[in-house]
Amino acid sequence: MVDKIFEQTERIDKKIQDIQSEQKELNVSGKEDKYFENEEKIDHLKKLRSDLLDQCRDLTPEDHVYIARLSNRPHIKDFIGALFTDFFEQRGDHLCDEDEAIYGGIALFHKIPVTVLGHRKGRTVEENVACRFGMPSPEGYRKAMRMFKEAEKFNRPIITFIDTPGAYPGMEAEAHGQGEAIARSLAMMSHLKVPVISVVTGEGNSGGALALSVANRILMLKYAVYSVLSPEGFCSILFKDTSKKTEACSLMHLTADELYQNKMADEIIDEPLGGASFDPVTVYDELDRAIYRNLKELQKMSPSQLLADRHRKFRRI
């Protein structure tokens, strides 16, 4: 399992850091022997680390799920910060509430005004709680719909980032019409007159993910996953046994490669060995190019062509 590898790379990173800080002091006092010895140690550790990451070339679907859920993986705010400028956050559904599990607003992408939004899991414990770990309430979907409509009015392309364990299964969410909110979002997205690009960056589970991804183009990060339900939920429904997760992950066809083979993902964005958190900048660069290229293609289409294009994508499934 990839988590064992990451435990080791983390330990090595810590050791390298310790030695490097020691080196700074040694440099001042001029103890050359010790200094060169340490340099060798660092080289050796770095070699160990890259050998370890080399083992990440052949990962199981369950490993992909693990990486997709890593808390240090780039999240929506990181992507917005790296790929967009002049971001203005839009808040609330303007009906009754604000849901922090969906984050977004208006920004420039290569000087083009776009609406950008997606699931937000949060990084700190407080943020995780406020965002319910990226599980939206109906208000979150209604907030997204408000933003979709505003984008359409001003002819702005829409870019969504998908990363959610699913819509929140709570009493209030049900009382406020979780199903209805998701259904409306699907119906609205299917008929938007502007280009829609979705990027699955982490885990895309069930209707909660689909509700923001009825897009003309669906891009997936290499280690992102997209599935009908969480592997845990899948296990308990189908096997009545949550210990069969490894098997479930393999049966679900949830990796980016499998989605691509099934013609659901249009493009895969490469990630460094071990995943985006090991070198986010390379991922931002490649994603930037991919979004730009797809956006330029879609901008050549008329509103009716965009609708027909999106319709075809989902109608043939």
């Binding site: 199903g179 259904a183 699907l186 429904i237 989605l259 099934n262 659901m264």
Partner: protein
Amino acid sequence: MTEEYIDTDPFEMCKGCHRRSRRSQWESHYYVCPVCGKYKNVSAGYRFSLIFDNKSFKVINRGITSDDPLNFPGYKEKLRSVKERTHLNETAVAAVGKISGVKTVAVVLDSRFFMGSMSQAAGERITRAIEAADKHKLPLVIFSASGGARMQEGMFSLWQMAKTADAVEEFSRNGGLYISVLTHPTTGGVTASFATLGDITLAEPGALIGFAGPRVIEQTIGKKLPKGFQRAEYLYQHGFVDAIVERSELKKTLTKLLMLHGCKVTGGTPW
């Protein structure tokens, strides 16, 4: 087409009160328990015969059956055995007939087939029924019931939500009338797609209707759910259902709604 189950026992037990009643009594009570009033799940054929004039209707899209898009171990065999046991060949059955003289497309989801789970074939049958209603400018009535996604079909099941929602939206923009009838149980992706997109939403008394299943919610919030939660009456109270309609009153209500939407109905206005 009538009740698919062939049984020689003249009595049938209610799943609610466990009391046994005569089949003839069940029938005259529209398969609502004569003792406790609990609604029994009924077949597509029965629903069609209940709403269509002279019990006359034509089943459409019956040829579309479940494939095995993910090559899921054991799925083909399971499909075969469920088909044999239930004498059904998919969750969704669509038909055309006349409701009080108004030609209408109706779809019934039968929860007895694979727990009414949404398969690619079911989604395709529903979508084609919506498209047929759109093409021929006919009203559409869908009786929803579903336990959620067909797990064995993975993403192919999930995307039926987008496909059907797209079809309903197109139908709606072209002026089509869609009456959604929520029956027990309507959950998961069906609730989060076409079932909640009707112009008018009706529900059968006591039907469980929700997105997340009660067990999942209980696990998440760590406490028992109150009685009546996610029932038709609860949704009615919370503003997601226009009316809760007794099965015996259903045809009358549909007729009234068709009339109010400009359709020429026959047989007077007995409401």
